[in-house]
Amino acid sequence: MHCDDIRDQLDKLWDGQALGEIRQHLASCAACSSYHRDLRLVRAGFSLLRQEETPAPSLGFAQRLVRQLTEVSKVPSMADFFERVGRRFVYATLALTLLAILALAVPSTGPVRALTVSDIQVPAQEASLANSDPMGESLPQESPGVAPADAPVPAVPSEAK
C-alpha cells in the first residue's frame, strides 16, 4: 500500500479504526508515521474541545431579549419608513406616467379644446371689416361656431335714407 492510499484512508484512522495493513505501513514509513502522530494530536485536541463546558446563557436571557424586541418593534424602523415612502413614490410616478401618456395619445383638437390666440383674433378682424363697409351693402356674415348667436347685429344704414 502506498503513502497516498494511507492518507486517503484517513477517515478510518481518524475514527481510530486503523486496519492491520495500515498499521504495518505506519511501522515501516517514517513520513506516514509522522502524519499519523499529527492526526492523533488533532483528533485529541478536537475531543478535548468537544468535552469543554460551553458557556450557558445568563439567567433571564430570553426574557431580556423579548423585552428588547418589544421595545424595538414599537419604533418603526428605517426600513419600514423607506418601504412606505418608496411605495408611494412608485404609485405617484406611475400616475404621472399614465397622465403623460394620455396627454400625448389624445389629439389636441376636439370638443374640449381650449381657446387659442387664433380663435380670438379671427372674429375681431371680421367685425372690423363689417364696420368699415362704406356702402352698407354687405350684410354681416355670421361665422358659425365662433360668433355668439345673440351677438348684436350691426346697424343697417337703410334708416338713414
Partner: protein
C-alpha cells in the same frame, strides 16, 4: 438529534406568531434553542466573554428575518445558519493567531505529550498538555478556510450528524462526507506546514 427534523406543532405556532411580529411568541423559541446557539457560537469564536453578546445579536437577527423561514428545514437548522454567518462576519474582523503554545514547548515535552497520547486517552493528560492540544486545534481552526472550519466545527465539536450538516449546508450527505474528509486532510497538511514555519521563525 433532538433538534433536527420538522418543527413540532407547538413550535410551529410560536414561529407563526413571531412571523406576525409577536416578540412574546419568540421567547419560548429562544429558550428552546439558546443552549445550542451558545455552544455553536463558542466553538466558532472561542471567546467566552463574547458569546452572550453574539448570541443576542443572532436572535435579534433571527426575529427580524423570521418571515423568511419557510418550514422547509428544521428551525434549529435555519437558526444555526444565521448563527454561523454572524460569527463569520464577526471573525473576519479578527486577526488570526500565529503562535501556538505547542511550538513553545520544548522538543522533549512535545515527545512526552505524543508518547502519552499513544498510551492514554486524551482526558487523562495533565492540565497543561490538554490546554496545549486545545490551543493548537483552536488555532488550526482559525487558520483553516471558512468552509473547512464550518464543517469541522459542526462535525467534531457540535457533534451534528452528516445528514444534519447536509440539511444545513444544502448539500448531499455524500458531498458532506467528501468535504469533511478533505477538510481533515487539509488541516493535517496545514499542521505540518505550520510546524515548518515555526521552525523557520525559531532559527
Amino acid at each position: 438529534m433532538e433538534n433536527s427534523g420538522a418543527p413540532v406543532a407547538q413550535e410551529i405556532q410560536w414561529i407563526k406568531s413571531a412571523q406576525h411580529g409577536d416578540p412574546e411568541a419568540f421567547g419560548p423559541l429562544v429558550e428552546k434553542h439558546q443552549q445550542r446557539v451558545f455552544a455553536l457560537v463558542y466553538h466558532l469564536v472561542r471567546r467566552r466573554d463574547e458569546v452572550e453578546d453574539l448570541a443576542q445579536e443572532i436572535f435579534i437577527k433571527a426575529f427580524r428575518a423570521i418571515r423568511s423561514y419557510n418550514f422547509q428545514s428544521s428551525f434549529a437548522t435555519w437558526l444555526s445558519r444565521i448563527a454561523t454567518n454572524h460569527c463569520y462576519d464577526y471573525l473576519r474582523h479578527e486577526r488570526v493567531a500565529r503562535v501556538s503554545y505547542y511550538w513553545q514547548m520544548g522538543e522533549n515535552s512535545q515527545q512526552e505529550l505524543e508518547a502519552n497520547l499513544e498510551s492514554l486517552p486524551e482526558h487523562v493528560l495533565d492540565h497543561e498538555e490538554q490546554m496545549v492540544l486545545k490551543d493548537m486545534v483552536s488555532k488550526l481552526l482559525d487558520r483553516a478556510p471558512e468552509n473547512d472550519k464550518e464543517i469541522l466545527v459542526m462535525k467534531e465539536l457540535q457533534d451534528y450528524s452528516v445528514e444534519e450538516i447536509a440539511d444545513l449546508l444544502k448539500l448531499k450527505p455524500t458531498t458532506v462526507k467528501v468535504r469533511l474528509h478533505r477538510a481533515r486532510k487539509r488541516m493535517l497538511d496545514d499542521l505540518r506546514q505550520w510546524r515548518e514555519e515555526s521552525k523557520g521563525h525559531a532559527l
